[in-house]
């Protein structure tokens, strides 16, 4: 749809008769930058990661005249010239008042005001302001403000969605805190339970969720875009967070039991544990609450310690992972081995994902899966390489009232 609009609008934009203003719904703005570069979009594009405008579906074209009056909400490309561009009477409507320049808000003042009034809306607004204007440090303040809003009004779906977005943003940054990614999923899920018809919120969960719940493969275009941009002799815009696993996986239309045996390579627990935390493991289950009979997708990510910066030893065996499946869960699909890159030493983020399906007769309550990973890692300080084990747990809630993702 967008390429069609681009083509149709281009002559009017070039003639100065039209401004096309894009608003993109995107958790990761640099992916929208790559998309713009690939599609050669020359419009101004605004980013609405928090869904501040409450757009519930995309794409949506809205035609607005010179006076700021909405003229069409369901314009098709074929209507653009006749029904909008060439409508002279629009010029006579309203005024073209001078617009004052925008200024950055006083964040401290906003927070003080929220604290004084202790209204949910004031805290949510403060969260928005810190997210947008607070820079790298603002993400903590933003998350805290949204939490305060939710404490006052637990049914504020927007606050839940925006807290999820802030937590996910922080989990992808150097300021990440343990549990941020899972917290994002939890709050997106709560938002969707409050507003099940909000498809932008639904898509945010589906982006990271099970293939069975996907309407399409979200970021399949990234590699194609990079290839085409390079063929033009340009460098593709770099992404700070590479889409991996679920984000690029194609959808599945029906449940298929995986024919995967997960080898238990250390059943007696004899391998030394990673007691110094050379590798940080974080698991995220999407969705955080699932109905019986529905799938969850588990993302297990392995990140070398941010402070000590050890190296993966790629001349040894691949990183492997074992997960125990309790009764009532079946494996849908999964990747349990991370193939070593060709370079002898690397420090990349490693992600393994698997899906399991909760049986239709599963009782409500907490489900826990035990797991461990085995890996070869070398200390940066003394170059010593070790074969280590790290145990982890995966947990989620079986809840018959949980929102379904599809």
């Amino acid at each position: 749809m967008l390429p069609v609009w681009q083509k149709v609008a281009k002559p009017f934009v070039e003639a100065g008769e039209l401004v096309v203003l894009g608003v993109v719904q995107e958790q990761h703005p640099d992916r929208a930058r790559l998309y713009r570069q690939w599609r050669e979009m020359d419009w101004p594009i605004l980013v609405d990661s928090l869904n501040l405008l409450d757009v519930a579906v995309v794409p949506v074209p809205i035609a607005i005249d010179e006076a700021g009056i909405v003229r069409h909400t369901g314009l098709s490309p074929g209507m653009l010239e006749k029904d909008f561009i060439k409508q002279p009477h629009f010029h006579d409507k309203g005024t073209t008042a001078t617009v004052e320049p925008a200024v950055r808000p006083d964040l401290d003042q906003l927070r003080r005001e929220a604290k004084r009034s202790n209204r949910a809306r004031a805290w949510r607004d403060t969260g928005d302001a810190y997210f947008l204007f607070g820079g790298a440090n603002g993400i903590d303040e933003s998350a805290e403000a949204y939490r305060r809003a939710i404490q006052i009004d637990p049914k504020d779906g927007r606050a839940h969605f925006r807290l999820g977005t802030a937590l996910r943003r922080r989990s992808d940054s150097d300021r990440r805190q343990s549990g941020d990614a899972q917290g994002a999923v939890e709050h997106w899920g709560r938002a969707l339970a409050i507003q099940p018809n909000q498809y932008i919120w639904r898509r945010r969960l589906q982006q990271y969720g099970p293939r069975l719940d996907k309407p399409y493969n979200f970021y399949f275009w990234v590699e194609q875009a990079r290839e085409e941009i390079r063929r033009r002799g340009l460098n593709p815009i770099e992404l700070s967070v590479e889409p991996l696993g679920s984000e690029i996986a194609p959808p599945l239309r029906k449940t298929a039991a995986a024919d995967i045996k997960i080898p238990d390579r250390d059943p007696d627990g004899r391998i030394h544990r990673d007691e110094t935390g050379m590798v940080r493991i974080e698991t995220t289950v999407v969705p955080a609450r699932v109905q019986p009979g529905q799938p969850v997708r588990v993302r297990t990510q392995f990140r070398v310690n941010d402070d000590t910066r050890p190296f993966w030893n790629n001349e040894a065996q691949d990183l492997t992972m074992w997960v125990g499946l309790p009764d009532g869960l079946s494996l849908g699909e999964g990747q349990f081995t991370f193939a070593n890159p060709a370079e002898p030493e690397t420090q990349e983020l490693r992600v393994l994902e698997f899906e399991c399906v909760v049986s239709g007769s599963h009782a409500p309550g907490r489900v826990e899966l035990p797991g461990y990973a085995l890996y070869y890692v070398c200390a940066k300080k003394d170059g010593k390489c070790r074969f280590l084990r790290q145990d982890f747990r995966v947990s989620f809630e079986v809840d018959p009232s949980a929102p379904r993702l599809r």
Binding site: L21, V47, L53, E66, G68, V70
Partner: protein, 68 residues
């Protein structure tokens, strides 16, 4: 189409943000043909901010889309 202009809708003031905005509390208010589109400000892909009202005096085609 349901679009609510909540946070960041600005009532003719100069501040960009929610808390200082005269934002409507009505959730999911309709964008109606023949009515003014509420103003809003959002970050641009290039690091600045832009408002709908920055384009007053021109015909604007506002396209909400996603890159996924």
């Amino acid at each position: 189409m349901l679009v609510s202009m909540v946070a960041l809708a600005m009532g003719g003031g100069t501040a960009l943000t929610a808390g200082q905005a005269r934002a409507g509390e009505t959730p999911y208010s309709r964008i109606e043909v023949g009515s003014p589109h509420p103003d809003f400000a959002l970050p641009t892909l290039d690091g600045g901010f832009a408002r709908l009202s920055d384009y007053r005096g021109k015909k604007v085609l506002l396209i909400h889309f996603a890159s996924w």
